[in-house]
């Protein structure tokens, strides 16, 4: 059973198409993210689902029934806004009770449900607080409680963590996922932060210029990106442009514009690019092994480059080195926490190597 289904959804603003022919289904109880750069149409898509914009074409179905004709207040889709939109003139309890009052439930019933939901989001005894007295994370939870108390079919969240500071964001990521787990409600989550999308979601749709580029589990997106855009947007990558030199059964040979020859595999599911075709090549820093020159550790790897360390960006487990390779390009590679390369310093010579399976080549428009 699908909780939410969009069919060929399109939205045009006079002349400009913000959402193009988007179709997807969200299974009941799952955490679905829409990930894309700023301005790609995420919010527009979500506002159509909530009923604040009318689609130019296509259909939106909730639990199987089209909701196009319903005004926003009659759709059982609730929304957590980017800046939360808590009502400043009401206290926490009144905020949470607002939707129930609109449904004209009896007072006692409202009080009971408000208390229950605040308990569930970990804010018992907060009903009397004014909204201004809450911390960022608490506000977040009130905004979610305000929607969840109405038991929506689908909860939409539009970059709800965007306004929080870094540490809190990290914490709320985990907390949001646990809350969804606990409520078992379908979440549709919008973000431009790939780490948020990957961490929390069952399924992620990567959106670009109004279109869905790929829909899949976080691992699929990370390990098998379907397009150059997805490969570049999800996770960190080194990216080069080049041309196919040779194509064989064991993969492609690509010469980058800087003149380096790399061995990789075609990606994105298209045809095998013919020699001479332009390709975009992606290699993840984490996939690159480092070794001191003369060390034979990298010998079995098909791609090997020599260079000097330009900069060491120490950041604990996420440390990176920037290596300037022979022909002037900068390659970013993960710095291992242990092993011979761990203590490398600026200006030292170094060798890099990686397997051809980690060299993803996407055909580009000529």
């Amino acid at each position: 059973m699908h909780d939410l289904e969009c069919r060929n959804l399109t939205k045009r603003f006079d002349g400009f198409t913000a959402v193009r022919d988007v179709s997807f289904t969200v299974p009941a109880g799952s955490f679905f993210s829409i990930l894309g750069p700023s301005g790609c149409g995420k919010t527009t898509l979500m506002r159509m689902i909530a009923g604040f914009e009318a689609p130019s074409a296509g259909d939106i179905r909730l639990k199987g029934a089209s909701v196009l004709a319903l005004p926003p207040n009659r759709r059982n889709v609730k929304m957590v806004f980017q800046h939360l939109a808590l009502f400043p003139m009401m206290n926490v309890g009144e905020n949470v009770a607002y939707g129930l009052r609109c449904r004209k439930l009896p007072k006692a019933e409202i009080a009971r449900r408000v208390a229950a939901i605040l308990e569930r989001v970990g804010l018992p005894d907060f009903a009397g607080r004014s909204v201004a007295q809450l911390s960022g994370g608490q506000k977040q939870r009130v905004a979610i409680a305000r929607c969840m108390v109405l038991e929506p079919d689908v909860l939409l969240l539009d970059e709800p963590l965007g306004a929080l500071d870094l540490k809190l964001r990290e914490r709320m990521k985990v907390e949001l996922k646990l809350l969804q787990h606990q409520f078992r409600t379908t979440f549709v989550y919008i973000t431009h932060d790939q780490s948020e999308a990957l961490t929390m979601s069952d399924q992620v749709a990567v959106m670009n210029e109004g279109r869905f580029e790929q829909v899949g589990s976080p691992r699929e997106l990370y390990h098998a990106p379907a397009s150059a855009f997805v490969a570049g947007f999800v996770g960190e990558s080194n990216r080069w442009s080049g041309r196919v030199v040779a194509a064989g059964a064991d993969g492609l040979e690509v010469e980058t514009s800087a003149g380096v020859v790399l061995r990789g595999l075609p990606a994105g599911g298209g045809r095998m690019p013919a020699p001479g075709a332009p390709v975009a090549v992606f290699v993840r820093p984490a996939a690159i092994a480092l070794a001191r020159p003369s060390a034979e550790a990298l010998a079995p790897l098909p791609n090997r480059l020599a260079g000097t360390v330009e900069s060491v960006l120490f950041d604990g487990a996420a440390s990176r080195v920037l290596v300037r390779v022979a022909n002037g390009a900068l390659v970013e590679s993960a710095l291992p926490a242990t092993g011979p390369a761990a203590e490398i310093g600026i200006g030292e010579p170094i060798e890099l190597g990686w397997p051809s399976a980690e060299t993803r080549c996407f055909a580009e428009a000529a």
């Binding site: 207040n73 929304m79 009502f87």
Partner: protein, 292 residues
């Protein structure tokens, strides 16, 4: 900041900045009002002979003409305030929430322009429009809606209309500025959570706009109660405005004592109403007017 010298410099700056404010308040506001209060307690006992007491106040309260006039003025002002609020809200809403981009700026500008034109010109415009030989009467005759000339001037309705006209922009401006500060997502959230348009207006929009409503209303009420020209030019034979009574006491009766008493009473009465309104809506003067 650093050391002792800058702190002294800061003190000196404070004192220098305080001087104009102190002079302004003392010489132009406090002392004059004290002077009026003092004068209102002075009673004329004969030519060039005066005594002190509450005689003028006593005379005011014992003479129903005067206090009914004050009540009438206040009541009409409240009516004008209410009408203005109702008339201005949709306009402010449109400007703040519906119009976008250039049309928004242009609309706001258009709305502000009449604000700058003299009261006198505006009242005069109404006279030209509404008098028996004026445009409206003639237009109605032209359309065949009435047979003879109709007088729209010199009645309470004309005064209320003229007053609403003179003060409405003082309501629009604070309303626009509060409504403009309201995040649209508040309204959308309220709709999303199941509120009908009416519920959203009553439970979210209105409470949010309250500071603007209150500051606009105070301004409008005080301006109305204190206006002189519009009631004088548009008003009918029955309708005197309390300010006219004050003016009369000063100018045609040469009775400054009574005029001062009237002034103090007008001030006290209208301030009382404003205070009550602030209490009832839980706002403060500094909080509302400061942002207007």
């Amino acid at each position: 900041m650093t050391g002792a010298a800058p702190r002294d410099a800061r003190r000196l700056t404070l004192i220098l900045l305080f001087m104009p404010f102190a002079l302004w308040m003392l010489l132009l506001i406090l002392l004059p009002h004290l002077g009026v209060a003092f004068l209102s307690l002075r009673e004329k006992t004969g030519p060039r002979q005066y005594g002190f007491g509450f005689g003028n106040y006593w005379k005011f309260f014992s003479e129903p003409i005067y206090w009914t006039l004050l009540l009438r003025t206040a009541a009409t002002s409240l009516l004008v305030t209410a009408l203005t609020l109702v008339a201005a809200f949709p306009v402010a809403w449109y400007i703040a929430k519906i119009a976008a981009g250039r049309s928004k700026a242009a609309l706001f500008l258009l709305c502000l322009l009449p604000l700058w034109v003299s009261d006198l010109v505006r009242a005069f415009g109404w006279v030209v429009l509404l008098r028996e030989t004026g445009l409206l009467s003639r237009a109605l005759q032209g359309l065949g809606l009435v047979s003879g000339p109709v007088e729209f001037l010199y009645n309470d309705a004309a005064v209320v209309l003229g007053l609403v006209y003179t003060v409405i922009l003082f309501m629009v401006v604070p309303l626009v500025s509060t409504l403009d500060g309201m995040d649209d997502s508040l309204i959308e959230a309220a709709r999303n959570l199941g509120g009908t348009r009416l519920t959203v207006f009553r439970r979210v929009v209105l409470p949010y706009a309250m500071p603007g409503v209150v500051s606009g209303s105070i301004l409008v009420f005080m301006l109305t109660a204190g206006s002189y020209l519009t009631p004088a030019l548009l008003g009918g034979k029955n309708a005197m405005w309390f300010t006219e009574a004050i003016y009369q006491q000063f100018v045609t009766r040469y009775n400054w004592e009574m005029g001062s008493t009237f002034g103090i009473l007008l001030l006290a009465f209208t301030s009382g109403i404003v205070w009550l309104a602030l209490r009832l809506t839980g706002q403060t003067l500094a909080g509302t007017m400061g942002r207007a």
